[in-house]
């Protein structure tokens, strides 16, 4: 079996295996083993990809496999990866693996929990390898729906409201996406030629501009909902705050990236003329996302809400960078997806651990945690530093690249937008440092908290994995940039040609 299909098959097999076990220990073991193999495969894929490129393969997608599925409407199972998808798959592999360990303490309907979680991951992996718009959409929806059960059953707080809101908003977004994809399909080939869902085939053809004007906004907003595009971001704070730890990790860490990835790969790449024409509208909206998210995080007192708003801000930055339409900013967007995925997963994992011990996420009721749980506290500080863009960690690399790219535009509109977006860094520093100072340092507020313990092995393991990734990316960003840059070239070419 080819490596890409195995990325989808392994989680499915894991789910099937889980159906037949009852014991909690076995459930954990099988989930962890399955996702460990998945992580290994993701890492292997990166090296295989590099070897393939080194051997001189310059085709746009490598490891391509294509099977006819529904012949009469030309739907294919068509997979392939380029540098962008490879790094996204690696990110997903890391997050789902660490997510399993972050859910180690789930006991209520544990089997069902892990099954839903892994189904969600299956959808994400399938999404990143798909080159056919139909299967891409299919996997996209597979990834979204288990969220309802995951939040509704295992969530906290007003979970039923949040679960319903999140599901309906995301499904509403995907509904628009469906119309957009159908529109692309119907215009995917010149008059008379067979229509196709194949992204690479469509990219060779120019979709009529009238069609682009109608379907680009639908597609972009469809993906944008998942990428927390203002004003469709409101599912995000409630959803993330109510979700169980691993789900928040996966959702903020990976699922929101589906939005950015799809917006770039499908909306922008296939409809470049309309993308150039309408970018300004969405730049304004994403600019609002960036600032609004950051300011929202400042006024929140619940740790999860803070991080959820911060995700709106950071993911807004991803879409912002994508709309800047040049190679540097695209590179920054991908790096930001990786960086935010890793650090937000770490944040949510840490918050879950703190909440599990202290029983509260309210920053007013927490203090001095550095004294009782130094390991977790140090990790929290590091994640915070990555979030506010400290050099040497992943966040700096990503945001720096985005702003350098954005500043290459020398007209007033882009300059103002960029400056507004840059100012979000300052706000980020405010809310990160405020939280760090309040809950980690200072006196212990609640005497009960003195009895709390530090992390145990199944908590340390995911944190260390994430830490290595964050630091690795911060120290050796070029290693990842090299993977991405060549793959960005065809997308940039198409958009730049369309601009002129």
């Amino acid at each position: 079996m080819d490596i890409l299909t195995s990325l989808v098959i392994i989680p499915i097999l894991t789910v099937l295996a889980l159906l037949f076990v009852k014991d909690l220990k076995q459930v954990r073991l099988i989930s962890a083993a399955g996702m460990f193999i998945e992580l290994i495969q993701s890492v292997r894929l990166v090296f295989m990809y590099m070897a393939e490129r080194a051997s001189g393969n310059t085709s746009e997608m490598v490891f391509q496999k294509s099977y006819q599925w529904f012949e009469s409407i030309n739907i294919q199972y068509n997979v392939g990866v380029d540098g962008i998808s490879v790094v996204m798959i690696l990110l997903t592999g890391i997050i789902i693996f660490t997510g399993i360990f972050a859910s180690w303490k789930v006991t209520y309907l544990a089997k069902e929990f892990f099954i839903s979680l892994i189904i969600l991951a299956t959808g994400v992996f399938g999404f990143f390898i798909s080159l056919d718009l139909f299967t891409l959409f299919l996997f996209y929806e597979v990834a979204v729906l288990p969220m309802y059960l995951l939040i509704g059953i295992w969530g906290t707080g007003k979970k039923e409201y949040s679960a319903m809101k999140l599901t309906l908003m995301l499904m509403g977004g995907s509904a628009f996406l469906l119309v957009g994809l159908l529109g692309i399909y119907m215009n995917s080939a010149p008059e008379g030629a067979p229509l196709t869902y194949n992204i690479l085939e469509i990219a060779k053809h120019t979709i009529p501009i009238e069609a682009q004007r109608f379907f680009f906004p639908l597609t972009f907003v469809g993906f944008g909902v998942l990428g927390a595009l203002f004003p469709f971001h409101t599912w995000s704070p409630d959803g993330h705050a109510s979700a169980p730890t691993a789900v928040s990790m996966l959702h903020a860490g990976v699922l929101m990236k589906l939005g950015g990835y799809g917006a770039l790969r499908v909306a922008m790449y296939l409809m470049p003329e309309a993308a150039n024409e309408m970018a300004w509208i969405f730049i304004i909206l994403t600019g609002i996302s960036v600032i609004y998210g950051a300011l929202g995080a400042v006024v929140q007192t619940d740790l999860k809400y803070i991080n959820a708003y911060s995700s709106v801000s950071h993911c807004g930055l991803v879409l912002f960078a994508i709309l800047m339409i040049n190679k540097t900013s695209f590179n920054g967007a991908i790096l930001q997806m990786l960086s935010h995925g890793l650090m937000t997963a770490m944040f949510f994992a840490l918050i879950g651990m703190i909440y599990g011990r202290a029983g509260t996420r309210d920053i007013k009721k927490l203090g001095g945690l550095m004294k009782v749980m130094p390991f977790l506290a140090v990790m929290y500080v590091i994640a915070g530093m990555a979030s506010l863009g400290l050099p040497g960690l992943s966040g700096f690399v990503a945001e720096m690249t985005i702003f350098v790219g954005a500043f290459q535009h020398d007209d007033l509109f882009h300059r103002i937008a960029t400056i507004v977006a840059v100012s979000s860094i300052v706000v980020t520093a405010v809310y990160i440092l405020r939280v760090v100072g309040k809950i980690l340092f200072g006196p212990i507020i609640n005497d009960e908290h003195k009895k709390l313990t530090d992390a145990v092995w199944h908590e340390k393991l995911p944190l260390i994995v994430l830490l290595i990734a964050i630091v690795g990316m911060g120290i050796a960003p070029l290693w990842i940039s090299d993977l991405i840059l060549d793959s960005l070239q065809p997308i940039v070419d198409k958009l730049v040609i369309a601009a002129n």
Binding site: I73, I75, L149, L178
Partner: protein
């Protein structure tokens, strides 16, 4: 004409023979419970035999015709009916039904014979005969629970509205006869229908069929009848009866009324918007699971119209494919509802609270069915809906598709409310564990297999598409 030509009518003939055998069995067998396995076996054999051999051709000078496409439609209906009678066993074994067991099967088979004739009809007379044969025994089936006033009330409602809609339809047919002097489809196809009088006739005709499919604004009978009828009869009404009507509607639109395509496209457009939206909005507020499924089935009918708006072979194929999936999906949902109603007589959505903790398998099946109805991948319903939308997109109905996808999102809300009841809501006294008999279990397995396989296994769609081309 050779007597062997009658093999063309094998679906109708075999079913009639099965019905007559059951009448004899009713006299000969004292223990009426034994009739159930006999009827199920007979029908099972009939279903299997329906797949064997190619029986295309015409009879009675073109009044009756059969083709690969029509055989496929009949086979689809047969499979659906087979699932229905498997699920009905438990209910028929109840004390109050034990004297009327064979009647259920006889009436049910009679309506199916009527539907088969309706689909196979080559002229409007045969069509009308089939339609009435499908409707009148249906009213008796709805009234099956003689001890229940609600059941009788819904039967009365059904027969009254059916008679009314038939009258309008007949008026339409007679106007057409007055104009063209023929009732044969083959004659009508040859004429150009684009005259005001024919359009009037067509509108009257389609109103009659719209009643059968319960399109808004002809849906008023649906919820009351669905609620009052015995659940297994409701299941039959909502999938088989509706499916047959959709089949004949699509055949007629694509052949007889081909020359009116611009007219009926506009009519279907309006009906689709109304049906989806109003069906959905009413479904939102239901607390009774049967009424809930009734309105959900109204909304689903609206989506089917999108496929018809494809106005070519692909549109036909997507409609048949969707009905096939809809049969499996809806019967899964009705199967669970009926199993629970038989065991506990509970039909409120809130009764389902906490069902997962006591009946995990049924809850999972119900969830799959609801997700499939909502069109969530990887379940079959997703493929069905996606292809319907593709068909409509061919003709550029993108605004209609936007309305449709908004409706899909609304429908997801109410489907999730049932999922929420089963999986999330807490309940001190959930429905106790229900042990289903083997017949029900088999029907569940068939439905579940359908929900999963029909989407992924692309050959099924390709086959439907290939026979649709020979329309």
């Amino acid at each position: 004409m050779d007597i062997s030509n009658f093999i063309i009518m094998k679906h109708e003939l075999l079913l009639t023979i099965a019905t007559l055998l059951l009448l004899i069995a009713e006299i000969a067998i004292n223990d009426k419970k034994k009739i159930i396995p006999i009827a199920i076996t007979l029908f099972g054999l009939h279903t299997i035999y329906g797949f064997i051999g190619n029986t295309s051709g015409e009879l009675f000078g073109g009044m009756y015709k059969n083709s690969a496409l029509i055989v496929l439609m009949k086979n689809i209906l047969n499979i659906g009916v087979f699932i229905v009678i498997l699920q009905a066993r438990n209910w028929l074994l109840k004390e109050e039904n034990k004297d009327n067991i064979s009647e259920f099967f006889i009436l049910l088979f009679a309506t199916l014979v009527g539907m088969n004739f309706m689909i196979s009809s080559g002229d409007f007379l045969m069509f009308y005969l089939g339609l009435e044969l499908a409707t009148i025994p249906m009213a008796a089936l709805v009234a099956y629970n003689t001890h229940d006033a609600k059941s009788s009330e819904s039967a009365l409602k059904l027969i009254m509205s059916a008679a009314f809609s038939s009258a309008i339809m007949l008026f339409g047919i007679s106007l057409m006869y007055g104009q063209f002097g023929s009732l044969y489809f083959i004659d009508l196809i040859a004429t150009n229908m684009n005259s005001p009088l024919t359009i009037l006739a067509f509108i009257m005709f389609i109103s009659g069929l719209a009643f059968k499919i319960s399109l808004v604004p002809f849906h008023f009978w649906t919820a009351d009848v669905y609620e009052g009828a015995p659940t297994n009869v409701t299941a039959y009404l909502s999938v088989i009866s509706k499916g047959a009507a959709v089949f004949i509607l699509s055949i007629l639109l694509f052949t007889v009324f081909k020359s009116l395509v611009t007219v009926w496209s506009d009519i279907l457009y309006v009906l689709a918007v109304l049906t989806m939206t109003i069906g959905n909005l009413f479904a939102l507020r239901q607390t009774n699971i049967k009424r809930f499924l009734a309105f959900s089935s109204v909304a689903q009918a609206g989506f089917i119209l999108l496929g018809l708006l494809g106005t070519n072979e692909l549109g036909m194929a997507t409609v048949i494919y969707f009905v096939l999936i809809y049969i499996f999906t809806n019967l899964a949902a009705f199967g669970v509802v009926s199993a629970i109603e038989n065991a506990t007589s509970k039909v409120k959505i809130e009764d389902y609270n906490g069902l997962y903790h006591t009946n995990p398998n049924m809850s999972l099946l119900m969830m799959m069915a609801l997700f499939s109805l909502a069109g969530i991948p990887p379940l079959a319903g997703f493929f069905g809906k996606f292809f319907l939308f593709t068909a409509a997109a061919q003709n550029g109905y993108f605004w209609l598709i936007i309305i449709a996808v908004i409706n899909v999102t609304i429908s997801l809300y109410y489907y999730l409310m049932v999922v929420k009841a089963m999986f999330i809501n807490k309940n001190e006294t959930p429905i106790a564990r229900i042990e289903n008999d083997i017949y029900t279990k088999i029907s569940f397995v068939i439905c579940l297999a359908g929900i999963f396989v029909l989407g992924f296994y692309s050959s099924i769609f390709e086959y439907i598409n290939s026979v649709s081309i020979g329309l």
